[in-house]
Symmetry: C2
Subunit: 331 residues, 2 copies
């Protein structure tokens, strides 16, 4: 029997999560029962929404001190108690921060390794990619020629939003927090421009790169980015509210923009939760894997080696120090 | 030649407009040229958006000190320089606070006095009515059984929103600022309930009257009403941002609700400007005049006698002391 390395939440984080909020433990791996699968985790996904689960504020449920940290992972089956799966099969599961999860076969998502590198099933071919695809195309309703502004522009959601917008004939402008990120956004992801909000005044940057206003704003952060975007909406703009990175690390609910901006632009503002858009997943996977093979979309991964380093990697993600999709290579 | 009584803006208001911000003057009435009409104003409409014009913040343009106060009026033609109009004809024009305007025939809206009392062409059969009709039906997308919450519920927009919502099978709940207003909303306009926000805690009132959440919120005020409504949205709610009474009297732009409320409810928030919905006017007039004749909609008018009293009436409107559509009977 294998030893199952696990990372538990030790205490509720105050502000930015730190390594001391977590605890590494080793437990005997469980055996799979009927309809269950014993798996080995290959890559673990770190995502900002997990901070909301620690606070008890996320709709997918709270993670309490003493419990296994949650999150999605891409795994291979070691032992199968379900006839649909064989050892070696790839799958994605919300199996959390552990090396040898036992999961219900009915709860997993099968992964076709032919669609792209398996790690991408946690990123641009997974939940972040579907978030971008459904959020932009269904809620953002981009038209050819539209200026599409996106925050957190080199993350897995933001970079996909920008690239899908361009594939659909739009003009993407990013907001990111370092010169490297902005260079990647323009040179690799092909954005028309990218504002480094840590160096340039955000209002000036948005006016410079979106002189005719913002037709679609895809918001992953809230806070000042949302405020400035709202001030610069074009008539009839669509705003997709998807993430709140600017406030995940706090227990406060800071105020948002004045409603006058929405009225002035006759804008439509929509709230995005990816779970509502599962129906688009087959079309998304078909489109996105093709775009990936055609080299029409690029992506960045920020890979940390070893489950024991997941807390540090999560800290880096929640302070914006990651460069691309945050992953932990577990085995 | 008649003496034309006019009310000018004397100075830019600070806070709530007061009578001293305006000046009554008498000028000789002009003669109509070709394509023009000399009219006599019967009713003048007082509307909250005029406060925004005094601040220079409204999209229909600023009113500067020394200029005639603006606003829509219902008038009768005295002398016509256009073959389409005869003396005695009724029309509506943005002719401002004066008794004998001369207007371009191309700029007026003809009024059919058979559709309802002529004063209603400034209220439930006019711009406020069209605002309610287009805002609710086109942007609010109410479904049968929906709970429709509306602020400023006894005003011409709010009372029409509530009554149209009910005609379409919805359940209307109002927010208003006095026991008399709330009694009218329930007993005359047939709302399921009405919260007097000056006596009952607004959060408790909304929870009490919208126990399953708010499906459509039609906002005429912003501020605290908007905040509380956002906290109580049902899944998939629609929010129509139409008016900002809570901030018209200030030069500040106070913050709005946190974007998390929109995400949590997967809500759609839209900005409403009535000028975008002229295409609906024929259908609106046909529906609304029928509903009026069938006694399916009730309305309130707050009529002040005499143009010289328009400044005081505007002060009452901007402090919420009016009871129904604010009108000045000019002649």
């Amino acid at each position: 029997m294998n030893d199952n390395t696990c990372v538990l939440l030790k205490r509720r984080s105050e502000g930015v999560p730190v390594a001391e909020d977590f605890e590494l433990v080793t437990r005997p791996a469980e055996q799979p029962g009927a309809g269950q699968l014993l798996c080995e985790t290959r890559y673990l996904s770190l995502d900002p929404y997990l901070r909301g689960r620690i606070s008890g504020r996320h709709l997918s449920g709270a993670i309490l001190p003493g419990e296994l940290m949650g999150g999605e992972a891409v795994c291979q089956v070691l032992e199968s108690g379900d006839e649909r799966f064989q050892p070696g099969d790839w799958l994605a599961a919300y199996s959390g921060w552990q090396r040898y999860p036992v999961v219900d076969a009915d709860s997993v998502r099968t992964v076709d390794p032919g669609l792209g590198p398996v790690s991408t099933t946690l990123g641009i071919l997974g939940m972040p990619g579907l978030t971008a695809y459904a959020g932009l195309l269904r809620l953002g309703e981009p038209k050819a020629g539209d200026t599409v502004l996106v925050s957190a522009a080199t993350g897995p959601v933001g970079s996909m939003v920008a690239q899908i917008a361009q594939i659909k004939g739009g003009r993407a402008v990013g907001i990111a927090g370092s010169p490297d990120k902005c260079a990647w956004a323009v040179e690799q992801a092909g954005m028309a421009g990218c504002i480094n909000y840590k160096e340039e005044d955000l209002r000036e940057g948005v006016k410079r790169l979106c002189p005719d206003g913002v037709d679609v704003y895809f918001d992953n952060v809230g806070g000042e980015c949302l405020q400035v975007a709202m001030e610069n909406l074009a008539l009839g703009a669509r705003v997709v509210l998807c993430g709140l990175m600017a406030q995940y690390n706090t227990d406060e609910m800071p105020p948002g923009p004045n409603p006058a901006w929405v009225i002035k632009a006759r804008a439509t503002v929509r709230g995005m939760v990816v779970y509502d858009h599962e129906d688009l997943r087959p079309q998304f996977l078909s489109d996105a894997s093709l775009w990936l093979k055609e080299d029409r979309i690029r992506y960045l991964e920020d890979v940390t080696e070893g489950l024991e380093n997941a807390p540090d990697a999560f800290h880096r993600l929640m302070t914006g120090q990651n460069f691309g999709k945050a992953l932990v290579k577990v085995s």
